[in-house]
Assembly symmetry: D2
Homo-oligomer: 332 residues x 4
Amino acid sequence: MKTVALFGAGRIGRIHAGNLAALPGVQLKYVCDPMGTAAADLARQHGAQASDIEAAFADPTVDVVAIASSTDTHSDLITRAARAGKHIFCEKPVDLSVPRAQACADAVKAAGVACMIGFQRRFDPTFNEARSRMDRGEIGNPEMLVVTSRDPGAPPAEYLKASGGIFRDMLIHDFDIFRWILCADGDEADTLHATGSCLIDPAIALIGDIDCAAVTIRTKKGRLAQINTSRRAAYGYDQRFEVLGSTGMLQCGNLRPSEVVQSDAKGVRADTPENFFLQRYREAYRLEITHFFENLQSGAAFRTSISDGVAAQKLADAAAQSLQSGQVVKLG
Amino acid sequence: MKTVALFGAGRIGRIHAGNLAALPGVQLKYVCDPMGTAAADLARQHGAQASDIEAAFADPTVDVVAIASSTDTHSDLITRAARAGKHIFCEKPVDLSVPRAQACADAVKAAGVACMIGFQRRFDPTFNEARSRMDRGEIGNPEMLVVTSRDPGAPPAEYLKASGGIFRDMLIHDFDIFRWILCADGDEADTLHATGSCLIDPAIALIGDIDCAAVTIRTKKGRLAQINTSRRAAYGYDQRFEVLGSTGMLQCGNLRPSEVVQSDAKGVRADTPENFFLQRYREAYRLEITHFFENLQSGAAFRTSISDGVAAQKLADAAAQSLQSGQVVKLG
Amino acid sequence: MKTVALFGAGRIGRIHAGNLAALPGVQLKYVCDPMGTAAADLARQHGAQASDIEAAFADPTVDVVAIASSTDTHSDLITRAARAGKHIFCEKPVDLSVPRAQACADAVKAAGVACMIGFQRRFDPTFNEARSRMDRGEIGNPEMLVVTSRDPGAPPAEYLKASGGIFRDMLIHDFDIFRWILCADGDEADTLHATGSCLIDPAIALIGDIDCAAVTIRTKKGRLAQINTSRRAAYGYDQRFEVLGSTGMLQCGNLRPSEVVQSDAKGVRADTPENFFLQRYREAYRLEITHFFENLQSGAAFRTSISDGVAAQKLADAAAQSLQSGQVVKLG
Amino acid sequence: MKTVALFGAGRIGRIHAGNLAALPGVQLKYVCDPMGTAAADLARQHGAQASDIEAAFADPTVDVVAIASSTDTHSDLITRAARAGKHIFCEKPVDLSVPRAQACADAVKAAGVACMIGFQRRFDPTFNEARSRMDRGEIGNPEMLVVTSRDPGAPPAEYLKASGGIFRDMLIHDFDIFRWILCADGDEADTLHATGSCLIDPAIALIGDIDCAAVTIRTKKGRLAQINTSRRAAYGYDQRFEVLGSTGMLQCGNLRPSEVVQSDAKGVRADTPENFFLQRYREAYRLEITHFFENLQSGAAFRTSISDGVAAQKLADAAAQSLQSGQVVKLG
């Protein structure tokens, strides 16, 4: 039996709480959140107790902390958890600053605790099936990757102020997909070019951010990746990628709420994609946390380590730098 | 809080147990099964206790019995549950005999208990979305229905001996779909023609059954339905229907394990459908049992009443009669 | 060089004229039509001359007559062409009466001329590809066929008066598809059941016809076919079939004017099917007439012989009889 | 009646000859090709005569020259045709050198003749439908474009030596698509970044070329375009684009030889795309030449002017420059 303290009772914390509660061999003991009532509600729902962070860290029966609190708390909580000898599941990103993220990785390593970062897309059944087929050699050597990653609508500029910018906030997932899909053999990014615009909401430009972006990465082995992103897709949450290999191509499409196709004078119409990440990645979140506890048990490496978190952050930094300079960035 | 006794710890009983255990406001108290160890295992897994049927019926705290035992026990259990004043959720079919099924309906009515029959396909998100669009008038007046219902493979003939034949065992679901989709305004079957063959396994012919069937129903309002069924589809579990209305058509397709499309020299290949009913209708089973308790609470009518169960059984009888006589059967 | 007289300068005659004119080794010499100006216009357009039928038959340089005139003229023209020793390409149907159709077949045989009936669907690249894969054994033994055949809208009842009824006018093509796809190994229809309704236009009922039909055929080998037909599909001309075999299924879909998919808040929308038979079967018409002249040259059997025309007519008769009697019809 | 001299009797010349011959009001008079027998064969096939270029230019009855000869002859033929007062249809590209292409445009302007460049993709029914919907405002303001353009296989390096490199040889079409789709309101490219690799055939690297490329263009209005290209797609000729606008998205897919979908234990399999540009763009070539003569007649502007040819060439130059320097290129 693994005993867990969950930090964060917001949107994503609630997802994890539900999944934790359903896992055999896992006991959700504490829920901690600055919003005391949120923590209390969520704790009650799953037979846990609300707590403050200190108490959770101090409880020697707690084996694991699951960090789903706001981004700016991640590095502090990881470091404290590592020092307290707790194993760590932490939502992406590790930290918006690469040095701080690296410091977290160092702390984890020094403490010898297990740490997995929640890049849930690697657990999406469709995306994961693509990777599995690549591992079986079904498309030969991967050569090109095209990632489409679009939100259904832009949040208020106010909300984006603390986001770290589109590359650290939104494309961090896509940088991780790039590494997972195109660099499975140890390849890494060699050069990166990013450009973008503010086409949707001028208020986003006023806070120094963009709402559409186009990134190109060339790897050391010469593979090519292109990522296109927009904060707004009128038809919903659009999450696809396709990878071209020497003997074939894999395309990962969206999920739909239903498989109804309606034909009338206006056309032949299928559903728009699942509306947002909570729906689209519902199963991915469940599989991710299951994987964490299975591999914690078996000692096998996590699919998404803290060094993956640091590496994605470096690509986000490079993209921000390329956007600002208007030039290509050479990576490590 | 509703307290439940579950009869049946087999494949379908386990599905219901898991869904019952996850429902707020519902307590699974007993699991009953002639296979004592199966009952004990399942009970333990969900914090219930194994019991015999008599004890469950005798316990005044039991509000609901959920019947997922073998078909030949349904009518007896329904009747006893009705007499004991328990509300009833019962897997399809009510009974393979129409008179016995009708007697169950009468007993339920006399006892004034609530009773829902588990035609889970009405809760499949895709099928239900189609019906919802029809209710909103999106295809006008429904005129024709084509149902494709194919299993991935034929079970052993031995297993089919007690099944009641393909119409009562397999097409019972499709007869219910026909009534739900094409008769929502109170229309009913007027004539029925069924034919079929044994093309897959000669042993099935030896027990007097067929493994492929084609049924046509014409309603009192002149609507037309065709059902095609096979015990074997080499590509998996194939569950689709399309309904043509005066202003459009709705097609309900299969679900797939993933949305990966693989292109290579051999073609552009998508996944085969979800493999079997447990996968395909997993969400339907969850929604069905949720609906039962919600409507039990609110007093609203169930989507699938015991009279729906009797009506589907009558169509299955008519199909068997048509197959035997080689002629068209006129319904009530 | 083959010299051709074309009978009929209407919609379908103009299609054949264009295809004939483009064929190497073929000279369109005469166009004959009771509407003299239609014949003259079409002849001029393709460097031919308008003529009366007698002159065309009398011209010894004419090798081939292509019959695309109204249905009620077919049997007379076939018989006369046979007697005149001309090879014959004739639009479907041979004749609405089976005995007259059979008499045509006898006349053709007695004269020793070549005769092909224009069931153009056998030349549709999609349908033909399905048949080719069946011939290569790609789905094993064919077991079930589902044909969907729907017009975009019902013609005026007045127009349908002389059509011979929906089975002879519209389903004649589908009966031919049934024979071509499910009876390629010499199997034949054993029993047939047809039902139908008038749901679209009450005027059609007044002339004794129906506008929706459902036909089921069981073959001597026990294969099952279902055909569903409507005079009206709000989304266009819908021509599909699917055939289930012991090791797989083939589905033949519609063509679309473009491969654009539009995604917006309303859905993900593809084009409706090609609008009508002239568009959908444009390529089929071209390939059909090419096949006729190629096989005429080589002496190979036509893909669609006059006996195929007679056989389809017999099925249409059986369907009309089943509809009228309300019972199953036993074939030859 | 317009009289035409066709220069070039190769693969693409034969396409144009067939289409010219079928156009009403157009007479193909001469076919000119250094391979005399090719010219003679093609001329004979369409009732034209083989000729040398000088004779064609000297014939005052020739209204139009259609240039389908090798790329290195285009600029000379355009210039001579302009001087001779002939209208010009010329295959892309105008010339591999931007200054020479510009000189052609100047010569055409000075002579006052009509000149259209054969970017046939603008006439592809699918691509053109997308543009038409954009013109009708169906996706609002266009913001992002993703172009996928892949050949089925790389030609021998030897053949590519004179091609001008992948950007001038292959992406020239995609640069034109970019301008046509994303710059319809007069927007133009502002910055361009190109990268690429030689991943398929090392011999291509030896001649200083690449076989995979990734290009990003940002327009003056901030729109973003990404083009991904490979000389090899194992599944065939892959020609797609998708454009995201403020209110929706349009995706243009591939065509298939048939609409058969085959389901078996291995998956649900559709056809690979039409095999190569001659098949995929067969209808586009026909519509393009029809457009040329219609607009020549009416005096309306061509959809693809010589200035479009020059503009695409400039983008190809910028891409080559970006690849070489590894940096972003600022356009005019």
